[in-house]
């Protein structure tokens, strides 16, 4: 199977651009002129005023599905080089997810120092060296389970079971949108498919449904579901525009003796907002007007290229870079929270970070592609002055063991892994909370960092007290941070 990287092209019938330009003269333009009232229907913020001054206004989260290895990317362990091949000894009984308690395994990648801070980074993520002084690494993350599904839920929603809102949903719920023509919370899934739990990772659960993440597929023909009528239907741009006019007239007529019911008015307006989204979303996704140097920077200058069947760095860079570039465009247009995924489900052949078999084979290309896109995103945000109030979070569901599985792979390590943050209020160039000599557990086991602390810190930077953002559900005042969470003041600037 060869993959064809297409951005968007016309399929059957009329092209999107043509459709919009023809419709734009009619209803679309009229919709843009409509002045909207803030109310429940279009995302009025629930937190009236923030709890305290915000350092960040928006968030972009990069999620590595499958479990990215800290000891092969960001958490350099010379001890593993020294003891490579010796039987692993953790000094305590260890429960591995599979059977990955083989000899100590050094990283297949060489490490070098980067930036003013002199941070050790492995070769595949060397691209991040250019921005490493912006980044605060947290090396003592601990999870609660070594099972992908529950661990992914934990990192995305703060709970190990389904039925809780994603972090982006909470942010949307608390702060609303900065651009009502676009959703407040946008998700860019891996183009190959969903990771564990699929869309449940960005589900609104018990929050109002509008706070659910909206999945965009920049490389699909239809990047947002139902944005435009499908080609080949009976709908023409003219019938569409006139139809909306008639619908509005008809709905207004229906509303005449039902004035007190604000839902009917909100329904009418939802069509106007939809029309504006039809213009705003393709515009936000249209990277064709980005200058060449920007496209090169993100590695998306080879549009239409075909790639080999085996996993390879160029392909990873192109797809991840495209999502990063789209993320930047969404953020600068007022989207509050963008979640970018790298890696799909845990099937075969591996197209995610779950390198039980071979770290070099899978982590190599994935990390190379990720680092290139992520570095470009950070640099680009910085040069636009957006990094000051944009929080970048790099996450995975757990790390990987310092011991080997087979001869070249690593098993899950929920006892220790790395997360990093940068931008909006974060002190760059630091490494917080060291892991032990192997990267097996936090050095200070009594004071690990948990996802609740990351979430608390994120909300804090957004001007929200995580203990005060609650919604009652099932008899409990639910929080993103459950009953946990500590703001990591140590990493704040």
């Amino acid at each position: 199977m060869s993959t064809d990287l297409r951005i968007r092209s016309a399929n059957t019938g009329i092209s999107r651009r043509e459709f919009l330009s023809r419709a734009g003269g009619g209803f679309g333009a009229a919709a843009l002129a409509v002045i909207l009232l803030e109310d429940e229907a279009c995302g009025k913020p629930v937190v009236e005023g923030l709890h305290h001054p915000a350092r960040a206004r928006r968030v972009v989260q990069l999620f590595m599905a499958g479990g990215a290895s800290h000891v092969d990317l960001f958490d350099y362990k010379p001890e593993l080089e020294r003891h490579h091949g010796e039987p692993s000894d953790f000094g305590e009984p260890v429960e591995a997810f599979q059977n990955g308690l083989g000899p100590w395994l050094k990283s297949p990648f060489p490490f070098h120092r980067y930036g003013q801070c002199g941070k050790w980074l492995s070769e595949p993520v060397a691209a991040l060296g250019s921005v490493v002084d912006e980044i605060a690494f947290i090396h003592n993350m601990v999870g609660k389970t070594g099972v992908h599904s529950s661990a992914t839920y934990l990192q995305t929603t703060g709970f190990v079971t389904p039925g809780f809102p994603g972090a982006g949903c909470w942010v949307s719920y608390a702060l609303g949108s900065m651009n009502e023509n676009l959703p407040a919370f946008v998700v860019l899934p891996d183009h190959r498919g969903y990771a564990s739990n699929g869309p449940k990772n960005w589900d609104a659960a018990f929050l109002p449904a509008r706070h659910q993440g909206t999945a965009l597929f920049p490389n699909r023909e239809e990047p947002i579901e139902d944005l435009l009528p499908p080609g080949g239907s009976f709908v023409t741009p003219e019938s569409d525009a006139a139809g909306r006019e008639l619908l509005r007239w008809w709905n207004e007529r229906h509303r005449r003796d039902r004035q007190a019911d604000s839902r009917l008015e909100a329904r009418i307006r939802s069509y106007e907002l939809a029309a504006r989204m039809q213009l705003a979303a393709p515009e936000a996704l249209d990277i064709s007007r980005e200058p060449d140097y920007i496209r090169r920077m993100y590695g998306v200058d080879r549009l239409g290229a075909t790639f080999p069947d085996e996993i390879n760095p160029e392909e990873e860079a192109a797809y991840f870079g495209l999502k990063c570039l789209v993320a930047r465009r969404l953020l600068e247009r007022g989207v509050r929270f963008v979640q970018v995924w790298s890696g799909n489900d845990n099937g075969f052949p591996r197209r995610n970070w779950d390198s039980h078999e071979d770290i070099q084979r899978d982590h190599g290309p994935l990390a190379w592609g990720m680092a290139r896109g992520a570095a470009a995103l950070i640099l680009d945000l910085k040069q636009r002055g957006l990094l000051d109030d944009t929080l970048v979070i790099w996450t995975t569901e757990f790390g990987r063991m310092p011991s080997s599985q087979g001869s070249k792979g690593r098993d899950h390590n929920p006892y220790c892994f790395t997360t990093w943050l940068c931008g909006g209020g974060v002190r760059g160039g630091i490494s917080y909370g060291p892991s032990d000599q192997w990267g097996f557990k936090p050095l200070d086991r009594d004071h690990p960092t948990e996802v609740h602390d990351i979430h608390a810190t994120m909300l804090h930077l957004l001007g929200i007290d995580h203990t005060r953002l609650t919604v009652r559900h099932g008899g409990i005042d639910r929080r993103l941070t459950d009953v946990h969470g500590r703001v990591l003041h140590e990493i704040l600037s």
Binding site: E95, V147, H148, P162, S196, T214, P229, L246, D261
Partner: protein, 1007 residues
């Protein structure tokens, strides 16, 4: 007086006082005690109750301290003793409530410090011995909460003169009284056109057909409305509509959820059960009992098993159950969370109780302890979620049960006979064995590496395992030969893995349901392990395609049990092995080629397959000799008896195999096909411990099954043998929940029924009747409805009738400024609510109006996605599905519901999320909804079909438009609508007209 004292206790206290008095204790002491008693009543008890007990009660125990009982007071808190009777200065309590060193008093945390006279009273009371009457418990009575009070039918309020016209039913009297109290007037009844549309959507979830509307409008009968209600309640589509509400609450779906999210192909029989139950108006108590313990309470009813789908309806973590062993932390955690889901599902659904909050700590607001919570986990300690078989026909179910019972009786009798045999021939056997061993040594000198088939290893011998060959076509069989393996593992050698009990069957189909012939059914006692001597079973001309060998008692290996076989030969009349090279299937197989593989079973290679004719014959001869000696262990009578029992066993088994095939349902189960680490408990409950802070790594004391303590006034019986009897545990819970005296059950369901009729419940939090939940707006009405339901045989339809025929329900939904000013939310029901069609109803209504809704009921769900990569993590790709190729435009209640990948159209219209227990759906209005309805592929297909339907309508364009309006809105278009729509139709065609009709607010909203 806020504190209570049981009568008995009081008497006892008086008696004690009297005894002390007559035994001549000093009058002074008596006076002190008198003083203490007075102080307690007048000051201390009120003080504790008003200032302390909110935090220091038996449940919350702030600082480890409770002040509810004398015992708790004396036990102290985490800092030790708080009161030293007789010594106020040594009492920590006094320090805590007194200002100290310029600092204000540390307690009470809330409100002003204690007054000086209160402090003094406290000191005196401690000095007088901290007197506390026996059995006195301070603080509120936990059952003094509206939802825990006994359920009695309240008197129907008197009707004010002004309301006499309006009031039709007792319901109206309750609502009218409340309206009067708030200075509100009810609304007049809606017109018939509105009412029929309302009733159709409410009771059936479908739009009324135009001819029904016209007939209803023209019906001169003053009871036409009541007759309509009856007719709709009798419609089978009623069950489909109302089952969907129930499925929201129990979070039903057709996949597991979590990682991989594999399909549950047999979830749907439970969905069908719910539809049937509502259509049959199954008594609600019975409905509860079947869903929790139907298999125990109604063993011969198919519903008794299918209903258990409720306990299994929620998400299930495949990886953590199948791939992770139960011994690992992740495995234990997953199983604990699985039971948590069952406890929460049952208690929120039936009792509107959020007891799940007590998993990590005692419930902070309601009177449920962690102990209570884990006692409920213990009820479900033996069950898992799995496919289990059932007989849809109750007669077959009964027959099967009888036959199975007979099988086990016969088995027992055979065992008895076998045990009575007296093996005095031991030395002869030993002699033969030695001669056999000599030959075997010669044969295995050239042992080929392809040993044979080997099952997965088990820890107990009682697992049934099978392996079978597919002959490719139906063949005439004249004999079957089994050859045992040789493996020196654990010095076993010849006959390695040969089962201690086994049977051989032939059949026409791979599942062994058609023309199953039992060829042999053998136990070791009758036939010893043949070692590597090929065992030939003569068959008198059987026709079959599949031959199966089933191990009924596994062979011992080291500390574990297996089933292994070197070769399975099937010989035709010419003695030709027709099984050679034919495909082999097995329940499970330890595939470790070259030695062990399924295909080795028919590869023609077995110990001795290359040996000389002479050697083979000698071996068989010796084996026959051994068999004869072996069988001589029994007398002729014993052998006759055995043969007789065997014959009957064969017959009974034959009868069993001839019963109609069983169906499957995904349900709570204790016995099922194991899959890797996911193994059945076989009814042996797991040990349930209280988990400190809910942490699987901090188990505390073991907890026995029980119902929550505060609710034990509802009769509840757990037989003494419940320790090992898991069914009795669930039966106890089922009976308790469905008991007429249960204060929560009947209120809970009455509130839900009301909610679905009005779009708003009487208690705003249908799954939470606790202190964090909402209070009922009409508590008396709720109690009246609940009692009415309970006392009318648990008939839900009775409740529907009462509600639908009430004046409250029939009210117009129009706005009235003077009423809005008082009650914008319509809490007091001065009008009916305008309701939006739910996701399923919207979809069904579109298809119904378009004339393409397929109303066939029941069966497996329709799938509106394409599955990619089903082998690992199935991708459910909705965008690849072509709505033009609908397999069937069936009602949305039959949708195959994927947990991890929600259906986009239904989700955007706020359908229930099957990861949560949904008591009330959200109702959002978003641009994405507008896009989904305006541009979505299904709505556009519906619009096109709708237009086709209109084109086939005889008549001119005006009549066509009129019919379109009637179909979609149950009314005629007005003159201005006619003008606009016809003009639009002329320009853009009818498809575009239909698109607008399906997007209109009038279509989307009832009223």
């Amino acid at each position: 007086m806020a504190f209570t004292m049981g009568k008995k206790r009081l008497l006892c206290w008086i008696a004690t006082t009297w005894l002390i008095a007559v035994s001549g204790v000093a009058a002074e002491e008596q006076a002190t005690s008198q003083r203490g008693s007075e102080l307690f009543r007048s000051t201390i008890a009120p003080l504790f109750e008003q200032r302390c007990i909110e935090c220091h009660n038996d449940r919350r125990r702030a600082g480890g301290l409770s002040l509810q009982t004398r015992q708790a007071l004396l036990a102290g808190g985490t800092s030790g003793q708080v009161v030293a009777p007789g010594e106020p200065d040594a009492s920590y309590l006094i320090d805590m409530v007194s200002p100290l060193g310029g600092e204000p008093a540390r307690m009470p945390k809330k409100g002003p410090a204690l007054r000086e006279e209160e402090l003094e009273a406290l000191r005196q009371w401690i000095a007088a011995g901290a007197f506390w009457p026996d059995g006195t418990r301070l603080g509120p009575d936990e059952t003094e909460w509206w939802s825990l009070r006994p359920l009695r039918s309240p008197a129907v309020p008197a009707i004010a003169d002004a309301d006499r016209e309006w009031v039709r039913t007792p319901i109206d009297a309750f609502v009218a009284a409340e309206l009067r109290r708030r200075g509100l007037e009810p609304s007049p009844p809606a017109d018939r056109r509105t009412l029929i549309r309302r009733l159709y959507f409410d009771l059936l979830g479908l739009p009324p057909p135009p001819e029904e509307v016209e007939a209803f409008l023209a019906d001169p009968d003053p009871l036409a409305y009541e007759r309509l209600v009856e007719r709709l309640l009798a419609s089978p589509h009623y069950g489909e509509r109302w089952a969907r509400h129930w499925l929201d609450v129990v979070h039903y779906a057709d996949t597991h959820g979590y990682d991989k999210d594999k399909p549950r192909p047999y979830a749907w029989p439970y969905r069908d059960y719910v539809i049937r139950a509502w259509n049959e108006d199954k008594p609600y108590g019975r409905f509860i009992q079947e869903q929790i313990a139907g298999d125990v309470l109604y063993p011969d009813s198919p519903d008794g098993i299918v209903a258990l789908g409720m306990l299994a309806a929620g998400p299930w973590d495949f990886i953590s159950h199948v791939e992770v062993p139960e011994e690992k932390i992740d495995g234990r955690l997953a199983r604990s969370l699985d039971r948590d889901d069952m406890v929460r599902t049952v208690m929120e659904t039936f009792a509107s109780t959020t007891i799940g909050c007590a998993r990590c700590h005692d419930h902070k607001f309601d009177p449920f302890s962690q102990q209570d919570y884990y006692a409920l986990q213990a009820v479900f300690a033996a069950i898992d979620r799995a496919n289990r078989p059932f007989d849809p026909d109750p007669q077959v179910a009964r027959k099967r049960r009888q036959l199975e019972q007979r099988v086990s009786e016969l088995q027992g009798q055979i065992d008895n006979v076998l045990a009575s045999g007296n093996p005095e021939s031991a030395s002869r056997l030993e002699n033969i064995d030695n001669r056999i061993a000599e030959i075997v040594t010669g044969i295995v000198a050239n042992l080929r590496p392809e040993y044979g088939y080997h099952s997965v290893i088990e820890s107990t011998p009682d697992r049934t395992k099978w392996v079978q060959v597919d002959l490719g076509e139906v063949c005439e069989i004249s004999s079957i030969v089994l050859a045992g393996c040789y493996d020196s593992y654990n010095q076993i050698g010849a006959g390695f893995g040969f089962p201690r009990g086994w049977r051989v069957e032939a059949a026409l189909d791979a599942d062994f349901t058609q023309q199953v012939v039992l060829i042999a059914d053998v136990r070791e006692e009758e036939l010893p392990n043949p070692g590597i001597a090929p065992l030939r079973l003569e068959v008198s001309s059987v026709r079959a395609r599949f031959v199966r060998v089933t191990a009924t008692a596994l062979a011992h290996r080291r500390n574990d049990y297996i089933f292994a076989l070197a070769e399975l030969m099937v010989l035709d009349a010419n003695g030709r092995n027709i099984a050679l090279g034919k495909p082999v299937a097995a329940l499970d197989s330890l595939e470790l080629p070259v030695r062990w593989a399924k295909k080795n079973l028919t590869d023609g290679i077995y110990p001795g397959s290359d040996a000389s004719q002479e050697m083979q014959e000698k071996l068989v001869e010796l084996w026959r000799e051994k068999l004869a000696v072996w069988q001589e262990r029994f007398s002729r009578e014993q052998r006759q008896r055995l043969a007789q029992l065997r014959d009957e066993l064969v017959k009974v088994r034959q009868q069993l195999s001839q019963l109609p095939a069983q169906q499957w349902v995904y349900a709570a189960a204790t016995d099922f096909q194991p899959e890797a680490n996911f193994k059945p408990t076989r009814g042996v409950p797991r040990v349930i411990c209280l988990l400190e802070r809910g942490n699987i790594l901090s188990p505390r004391q073991e907890v026995q099954p029980a119902v929550p303590e505060v609710l034990r006034f509802v009769p509840c019986e757990l037989p003494d043998d419940a320790q090992g009897n898991e069914g009795a545990r669930r039966a106890m819970l089922a009976r308790w929940l469905s008991h007429p005296a249960h204060p929560l059950t009947w209120r809970s369901i009455a509130n839900r029924i009301w909610q679905y009729h009005f779009g708003q419940p009487l208690v705003g939090t249908p799954n939470d009747f606790g202190r964090q939940g909402a209070r009922p707006t009409h508590p008396e009405l709720l109690d009246w409805l609940a009692a009415e339901l309970r006392d009318h045989g648990g008939s839900i339809k009775h409740l529907h009738r009462l509600i639908c025929t009430s004046a409250v329900y029939r009210q117009a939904s129009g706005d009235r400024a003077e009423a809005t000013a008082v009650d914008k939310e319509n809490r007091w029901l001065w009008r009916q609510n305008r309701r939006r069609l739910e996701a399923e109803v919207l979809r069904d209504a579109m298809l119904a109006v378009a004339g393409c809704l397929d109303l066939r009921m029941y069966g497996p769900g329709y799938q509106d996605f394409v599955i990619q990569k089903p082998e690992h993590s199935p991708h459910y790709e909705y965008h690849l599905f072509d709505p033009e190729d609908y397999p069937a435009y069936r009602r949305a209640v039959y949708r195959f519901i994927v947990r991890s990948q929600p259906q986009p159209f239904m989700t955007v219209w706020d359908c229930a999320d099957p990861s949560m227990l949904v008591d009330k759906r959200g109702e959002t209005i978003t641009p994405l909804q507008a896009l989904a309805l305006w541009n979505g592929r299904l709505p556009l297909v519906a619009a096109r079909r709708f237009a086709e339907r209109l084109r086939n309508f005889p008549g001119d364009v005006r009549q066509r438009l009129q019919w379109a309006f009637q179909l979609a809105l149950a009314r005629q278009p007005s003159a201005d609508e006619e003008k606009e729509f016809l003009e639009f139709a002329r320009k853009f065609g009818w498809e575009n007209v239909c698109r607008i009709l399906l997007n209109g607010n009038e279509f989307l909203y009832v009223d």
